[in-house]
Each structure stands twice: as structure tokens, then as C-alpha cells.
Amino acid sequence: MRALIPTLLAASLGLACALGFRGATEVDAEYSLDEIDAVRVNLPDTPISVLGDPEATTLSLEGVWYSVGGSRTVAADNSTIPLLNFALEGRFAELTAIIPTANRDLVDLEVRSLTLPPDRDLEIWTGLGDIEVAQVEGNVSIDVEAGHVTVFGGAEGVAIRTGAGDVEVETSGNTTAATDSGDVVIAQLGAGGNDLVITTGFGSIDVTLRSDANLDLDLKASGDIRVQTRTVSTVTSGAFQRAVGNGNVKVWLSARGGDVTVRLDESL
């Protein structure tokens, strides 16, 4: 008996697992964007890579539905059950996934690529997943629970929120970005003079401006604050406020757990 109990316990500890199989089904979808100005991509947890293609006239998606099942058949069946739904309302469209409740936690979408015409406004909502958007010149808005976000473009404005992850933006538009944990790197393109409102809970902010005229600087950091432009040059900590010219260009940066650095593009 003394040997039986430890044996049973050891066996049960080693056997605490669930057995099953994985399945996968490729997804290749295309949706017309005629008379559509803005598209929302509202998908379950997935990394998403979006490319603005000047040749494109449709929204194209390539990806895979992954699934699990207690048998090969169940796993394969589960991967075919989810549907993508493209709904329209006026000049706005939304791409969503429709999954029966019984299958919702047994499938996972991974979007390999998404292309659309570059002049459309784009909105992305998802849970876990890195987001990368390139060459989309309309307004870009991204809301993700956790994931790194990279945007190259967004000339009409960029808005980003991520629960955890770094943010990198190169844009000629106004930018609002917030991350609970992660570094933020912003580089202005074009003539500059765009508003920047950036917040990170734990991380640093690095901003490269194209113009230092008419700045309204409001900088907060738990670490160092470094500003190096032709009109403002300082190294301090805590908080720094300064208005330059008529002060109508907001540069409001807050890094509660890191440094803030503002510099002028040296190529100018």
C-alpha cells in the first residue's frame, strides 16, 4: 500500500493532459470595395499584415484556419466551420469572423496577408497579434489587446492602441498612439507640423520631427527628457513644457516608465 499511493500520484501527475489532433484549412477571400471608403477588419486573435496596393480594387485576404479536435475527423471538420462575413453599410464595410459558440475556442485564424487599395481608410480590431500596415495612405486606426504595431503610411492620420507591445510609426499624418507596455518610435514624414499625442505606461518614446516650428511641447517621463531641435534644446527629467511660435502643433508625450527623446530630422 505504501508503494501504491506514490505510484498512483506520480502516474496521475504525468498523465494530466488532453490528447487530440490539429487541423487546418486555407482561406482565400476577395471582397469588392466599389463605393467603399472605409474598411474595418474585426477578427479574432491573429497577426495581420496589410499592404496598400495601388493596383488593387478589392480587399483580398489569405490565411489559415487552424483547429483542434479529439480525432482527425473532428479537427478537420472544426477548421471548416468558421465563416468570414463581409458586411456593408453605406460606404463603410466590415470584415468579421462568424464562429458557432461550440467551435469558438477550438479554432484560430492566422491572416497571412491582406491587401486593399491604398486610399481607403482602414480600421483593425483584434486580440493577440502583431499588426503591420504599409502603404495605406488613408486614415489608419488600430486597436489590439497585445501585439507590436508598425505603420508606414497613414497620411490622413494614425490612431493606435495596444495593451502590450512596441509601436513604430512613420507617417506624415497626425498621430495618436498609446501602449500600456512598450517602446514607441515615431518618425514624421513630409513637411512635418503634425500633432503627436503619445502615451506609454512602461517604455520609452523616441520622436523624430520634420519641423520644429510652432511646437506645443508637453513632455512627461519618469526617466530623462531630451529635446534637441533648432529652437529647443534641453536635458531634464520629470516634466517639460515649452511653446514655440504660435504653439499650434501638439507634441504631447508621456512615458511613465521610461525616457522621452525628441529630435529634429538631421537630414533637414
Partner: protein
């Protein structure tokens, strides 16, 4: 067998008339209207001592073989010892009458003879277990009534504190460090999980190994912590009452168990593995000796956009019960009903219709190891095998698919009435 014999011997007495009292060589308490009485029947020469619940001597008498000596006692709990046996606990009801037969030398068991009683029937407290006499040693110090409440409460508030109350500092520090280690380890594993580790495209479940190890470690540490936490509370009480060897309540009518069934499961996405825990409540009635049946696996689980209600039935047989260890086996089935919500869509066009609700049946078989630290409280370890028919839902966004053979390890506590 011993317990059954003891229960037969210590049966309730109801004598129509008290036997003739012999002279009492030692002091007896003065009777009042609410007092009960204890008739001591001497089967051999010797002394009999009655102590109250605080360990103070309420009566001490010398008896000769064949004598019957009445003692008047205020209502309450007492402990009786004689030269050849004890201690035995009794509970005196107002106006009640108990009879006590001294332990015949060298017989191991004292007895209370049945007989008629004109007043309310007195009872023998907890026939399956007699705590040591108050006034003796409980834990590392003298027995004190307040410790019976304070020690387990202190242990519940801070692991090990109850043992320190019981003057067992070494054990208390050990309990505290053990709980700290298990809790710290579990917290470290939880906090070191990086949500960004599973956001990268192209992982395709390649992180399964490390995530499974992390989940298994988390499950074992938290399971161990739960068991240790419950054990040290029970131990604090056991020490406070001076209980060295519990006598499990085999003839219980109802058993209530709070259990966490746990396993490491796989997921379709990333992270590719996760820790699946199912907290549930079980209420089983012992319908025949060793055989119990009842409702099981009661719980409610909230997921993202869904609510799952779970209940089931279980048949349990205890095939081993010796000392403080019980081993049994059970079969049962859980039923899960899930009410879900399918997100709406914009525009006037109807979204494709899909099922918002789900139903599953999960049959299982399990072993059941119960270790008693107190007469009515057990620590449970339960290996189980199951296979769902339909999706089995857990909390948050966790679910196991239909036909997925699942090995689980349950940990929990049980209480027996």
C-alpha cells in the same frame, strides 16, 4: 470493526429506574434541576475521573467491583477516564442520564450499558472519535479551548500561524515557507508569461512544448499550494484539540467536496498549450456502506461571450478505508449547457446563421484518494480520465474539443456529515 464495537457499547442509555447507588467514596457535585446524571458501574476496583471541557476535575471517585455510583453533572461535555481505559467523551444533556461501565481489566474498551431513562436521552458525543482530554498536551503546549477556534483561523489568515499558536513554531515556519515557495513559484511562472510571445505570425503551435511545461508547472504549484493551505488549517485544529490519529467518519450520510480538476490542454492558436482548471462542487449521499451517489461537478463558467452551466451525477465506491486513508473509485457524467452570443453585424444584410448555444456530455471514471487530518475533513487527490461528447468549456477562452481523451488530476477538500 473497533468503531462499530465502540458504537454498540456506548449506546444511549434509557433506564426506567437508576440502579441502587453505592456509597460514593469521593466527592460528587450537588444536583440541581437542570443537572444530568452519570451512573458509574464498576467492573473492577479502581478510580474514575471526570473532567470538564477545560480539563478541570469535575468528579473523582474510588469504586469497588460491582458498585454503581451516581454522579450529578451540569450539562456539558466531559471526559471520563478510569484505571484501565479512556479517555472517553460524553455529553450531558439537561436532566439526562448516562451510564458508564468501567473498563474491565485488561479489556481495552469501556462501556456504557443501555438502560431506561425518564428524561431526555443523553448522547455520547462523536462516537467515532474521542479527542484527548482537555488539560493535556495539545500541539506543543497545554490544551486551551480558545485555540480550537484561533489556531485554524490564524492558519487561514496566514499559513503556519495556527501552528505557532499551538506552540509548534518549527512546524509553523515550515508551513509558511512551504506556502511561500509554492505561491511564489506559481506567481513567478504566471508573471513570466509574455503575452507578446504568441503574437508573432507563423508560430503554428511551435511553442507548444515550452507552454505545456509552463502550464504543468503552474498547475502543480497551485495544486500543491491548495492542498498545503487546506492541510495546515486542518492540522492547526487537530493540534489544538490534541488529535493525533483521526478516525474518519465512515458512516457519514453526506459528503461535500470542493475540487479543482486540472489538466494541460492544447489550443488551436497561440499560445498552443494552456492550463485547464475546473473548480466544482460535489454532494454525495452514502446510500449503503461504502457506496455513495449524488450530484457532482457543479459549476458555472464564464467565457468570452458565453456562459456555461455544468452539473452531473456520480456513483462512488470506497474499496479501501484503513486508518486515515480512503481509496475509492467512481464513474459519472458531466452535462454542460452553454449559452453563447454570436456578434452582430453592420448593415441590413443578415449575417450567416450559426448556433449560439452548445451542449456536451462528458463521461468519466476516476480514482479517489482521501487523506484525513480530522475525523470529518479530508484532503483529496483525484486522478480522472474523461472524454467529452461535444465541446467541453472551461473558463475564459478555453475549451477542449469533442472526443479529446483527457487525463486530469483533481485536488480538493471533503467534509462529511
Amino acid at each position: 470493526m473497533i468503531l462499530a464495537s465502540l458504537a454498540a457499547l456506548l449506546c444511549i442509555a434509557a433506564p426506567a429506574t437508576a440502579p441502587a447507588a453505592a456509597s460514593a467514596p469521593a466527592a460528587t457535585a450537588e444536583a440541581s434541576a437542570t443537572d444530568g446524571s452519570l451512573i458509574v458501574h464498576a467492573t473492577s476496583d479502581g478510580s474514575v475521573t471526570v473532567r470538564d471541557s477545560d480539563g478541570r476535575i469535575a468528579a473523582s471517585i474510588l469504586v469497588k467491583e460491582g458498585q454503581s455510583v451516581p454522579i450529578s453533572l451540569s450539562p456539558g461535555r466531559y471526559t471520563i477516564t478510569d484505571d484501565h481505559g479512556g479517555p472517553r467523551s460524553i455529553e450531558v444533556a439537561p436532566g439526562g442520564r448516562l451510564e458508564y461501565r468501567t473498563t474491565p481489566a485488561p479489556a481495552p474498551m469501556p462501556a456504557v450499558a443501555p438502560g431506561p431513562a425518564p428524561g431526555p436521552a443523553p448522547t455520547i458525543a462523536e462516537p467515532e472519535h474521542e479527542p484527548p482530554m482537555s488539560g493535556g498536551r495539545c500541539g506543543g503546549g497545554p490544551c486551551r479551548r480558545w485555540k480550537r477556534i484561533a489556531a485554524p483561523l490564524m492558519s487561514a489568515a496566514m499559513p503556519g500561524a495556527g501552528q505557532i499558536v499551538n506552540n509548534e513554531p518549527g512546524k509553523g515556519v515550515g508551513m509558511f515557507l512551504g506556502a511561500l515557495s509554492l505561491g511564489g513559484g506559481a506567481a513567478a511562472l504566471y508573471l513570466t508569461r509574455d503575452p507578446l510571445a504568441s503574437t508573432t505570425p507563423g508560430l503554428n503551435g511551435s511553442t507548444f512544448g515550452s507552454e505545456a511545461v509552463n502550464a504543468a508547472g503552474f498547475g502543480m504549484l497551485t495544486g500543491g499550494l491548495g492542498i498545503l493551505y487546506a492541510a495546515q488549517i486542518m492540522d492547526a485544529y487537530a493540534s489544538a484539540v490534541g488529535l493525533d490519529r483521526p478516525r474518519p467518519h465512515k458512516r457519514h450520510k453526506i459528503a461535500v467536496q470542493l475540487t479543482r480538476m486540472a489538466t494541460v490542454g492544447f489550443r488551436a492558436g497561440d499560445p498552443a498549450a494552456a492550463f485547464y482548471a475546473d473548480w466544482n462542487l460535489n454532494v454525495l449521499a452514502q446510500v449503503r456502506r461504502r457506496l455513495s451517489v449524488g450530484v457532482s461537478d457543479l459549476s458555472v463558467k464564464y467565457g468570452i461571450g458565453r456562459t456555461t452551466i455544468q452539473a452531473g451525477g456520480r456513483l462512488h465506491y470506497r474499496f479501501f478505508d484503513r486508518d486515515r486513508l480512503w481509496i475509492g473509485a467512481a464513474v459519472g457524467a458531466m452535462l454542460q449547457g452553454t449559452i453563447g452570443r454570436v456578434p452582430g453585424t453592420i448593415g441590413e444584410a443578415q449575417a450567416p446563421a450559426v448556433k449560439a448555444n452548445a451542449f456536451a456530455v462528458i463521461p468519466y471514471g476516476q480514482l479517489d484518494l482521501r487523506l484525513f487530518l480530522l475525523d470529518r475533513w479530508s484532503l483529496d487527490i483525484i486522478p480522472r480520465i474523461s472524454a467529452p461528447f461535444g465541446t467541453r468549456f472551461y473558463r475564459q477562452d478555453l475549451a477542449l474539443p469533442s472526443h479529446s481523451v483527457t487525463f486530469e488530476l483533481g485536488t480538493g477538500v471533503g467534509v462529511y456529515f
